[in-house]
Symmetry: C2
Subunit: 365 residues, 2 copies
């Protein structure tokens, strides 16, 4: 999605990423979050913005998190606890702490277990939002591991043939390191589209493509449409219709529910009932590449595979073949140099908040 | 797929599953496969037929495997070896042994490691075909574990925007146990459709639905079509087009390639070059539920989730909502009682082979 659904140039303000990170951290800290965790959370959001994943950056999330801290849906000073642990696994209760502030700690625990016995899998329940899950998989990839992250939360996806929402958008993020090529970084909802992308499209006043939504009765809408009012649509699993393969997206969404909520000992939201702001359940896995084969050989093979993919002859009318992570890498080079293009309304919101807490305004690029 | 693309009644012969299993095992044994492994392989195929997964049963595979044993593409008496091992991982070379004959042993190794340290992940490279991968995940589920299995082999899937095949159909199979409800059993190619389903449709003389194939230049065919000659089509990733989400199927297919081939220390087929009958690379994971939470609680939550899914109000025009594994469970009850409906041509083939090796003809139901 990174090349599409961007804030149009006339509504953009380009701001320096260091400045956005610092301001977002200060705003979160002002809501009672300790400095280290506020810094961590701000870094997750700004990294998403740098990678071109605008839907999961500061725009959609800083205002929302501040609201959740004020209502008590999020706990600024959570008491993280481990309820069960083995050499390769752990089950964590995040005590309503913000997921993006705690995700690095959970993934690092999985990485440390993988260094010890080859594999590490950690579930973390009772957290706030986990953001772009691929972020945490990259933490493993940077340590010569394959990382995999999943989360469930929200209630928007109807199962194939169904007229009622049963899942959030249940994303899967996977990262694996290469040597010369940018890392493989896959991060996608198991629904047709992530909810945050719909929010972004609505803010930009654009139509929704065919296959992205169902009507309120569960029928996939297979032509371009306006974003209906909240509650008047759902999203189908990826594949959109049974014929094109929505039962596969549905099966993967159920797998995510099992590995996050049920493996943590929790009921899925579809059973316990869902309220906005309800806790997320998360899954973090790390595979120590050296436990299976030679790290150098693995990375050389990754380079060859990723190069083969991007050098694949394009289909008629297509410019080039991409691999997951390429556009994110290209966006990051651009945005580190030229700033992050934010919608002017969120820049105003951040500057206003900053002035209230005595922080400087965002630095324009 | 189980309710569709069945052999039409007028071409069916219903045969008893015990009889098919016994005959298939004897035919494989006659190709030099030891009795225990021939029995195991026959059981995998007949279990697929019992579960209604006709595309992965005896019809497509016994003749093919016999051909591969005769050409040396498969080794009837492989020397399985472990090249690297940790408390939770192992890397196996299958020495060109048939995947379905060795898969149970690989998954059981993962299960034993999970019993020891919580997680077990085993890769097995250099094998023949692994069949319906969900089969091996069920071996873990029957031991109170979550099982996950992946395989790569073949060369048929074009990446999103690509005009050249870069992957096989790279399936993912996941199973998790419930208490009263039939187990969750998800098994799907990350392509629009499994190659064996196209073979089955071709044999039945039916058209291919929209979105299942691309033309030879990589353009997804978005209307119903005849099966083109082999080499004149590819399959897109699940999602079919970029707009509907084929980049997600593509990313998952790449993940499967990484966890099977690259994690085993191998190059992917797209780099080393592909020939029909080339070895498969496989991934087996077992999650010990008891390492994370209470098994009884997990199964009770599974029951509630699966019941909630199948009791979901259907969309207009749909009969009911299914969950992955339901149709397979229903098919198995029917076929254990009433026999497996095989195409009369494969019954003749099996009976002829049986008579050559002095085995009885198949018992009709």
């Amino acid at each position: 999605m990174p090349t599409r659904y961007k804030v149009p140039p006339e509504l953009q303000v380009r701001v320096q990423h260091q400045s956005v990170r610092s301001t977002a951290a200060k705003i979160l800290h002002s809501a009672g979050v300790p400095v280290a965790e506020a810094d961590e959370a701000a870094d997750v959001l700004v990294t998403a913005d740098l990678r071109g994943i605008d839907s999961h950056g500061v725009s959609n999330h800083v205002p929302l998190y501040i609201e959740y801290y004020s209502t008590g849906a999020l706990n600024p000073r959570p008491n993280w606890s481990v309820s069960r642990e083995t050499r390769s696994t752990a089950t964590i209760d995040a005590d309503k702490g913000l997921g993006i502030a705690l995700g690095r700690r959970a993934m690092q625990m999985a990485v440390d277990k993988a260094k010890d016995v080859g594999m590490g899998v950690v579930t973390m329940s009772n957290s706030g939002h986990l953001g772009a899950v691929g972020h945490f998989s990259m933490i493993a990839a940077e340590q010569d591991m394959i990382g995999m992250t999943m989360t469930c939360g929200g209630m928007l996806m109807a199962p194939t043939f169904g007229a009622e929402a049963r899942f959030g958008t249940n994303p899967i993020g996977v990262a694996a390191p290469a040597n010369k090529e940018p890392a493989f970084l896959f991060d996608a909802a198991t629904s047709s589209v992530a909810y945050n992308k719909i929010l972004l499209i609505e803010r930009l006043g654009l139509p929704v493509p065919a296959g992205w939504l169902t009507d309120e009765k569960g029928d996939p809408i297979m032509e371009e449409t306006e974003v209906p009012p909240l509650g008047k649509f759902m999203v189908p699993p990826v594949g959109s219709t049974r014929e094109i393969g929505s039962h596969k997206g549905y099966g993967l969404a159920t797998m995510v529910e099992i590995l996050t909520a049920l493996l943590s000992g929790m009921q899925p939201s579809m059973v316990e009932g869902y309220k906005p702001g309800a806790p997320h359940r998360n899954y973090f896995a790390a595979y120590d590449i050296a436990a299976f084969s030679e790290v150098d050989v693995f990375k050389e093979n990754m380079d060859q595979m990723l190069r083969t993919l991007r050098e694949t002859k394009p289909a008629p009318g297509e410019e080039r073949v991409l691999y997951p992570g390429m556009l994110e890498h290209e966006a990051e080079i651009d945005r580190r140099a030229n700033g992050i293009p934010l919608h002017h309304e969120i820049v105003t919101w951040l500057d206003t908040k900053a002035s209230v807490i005595g922080a400087p305004a965002l630095e324009r690029s």
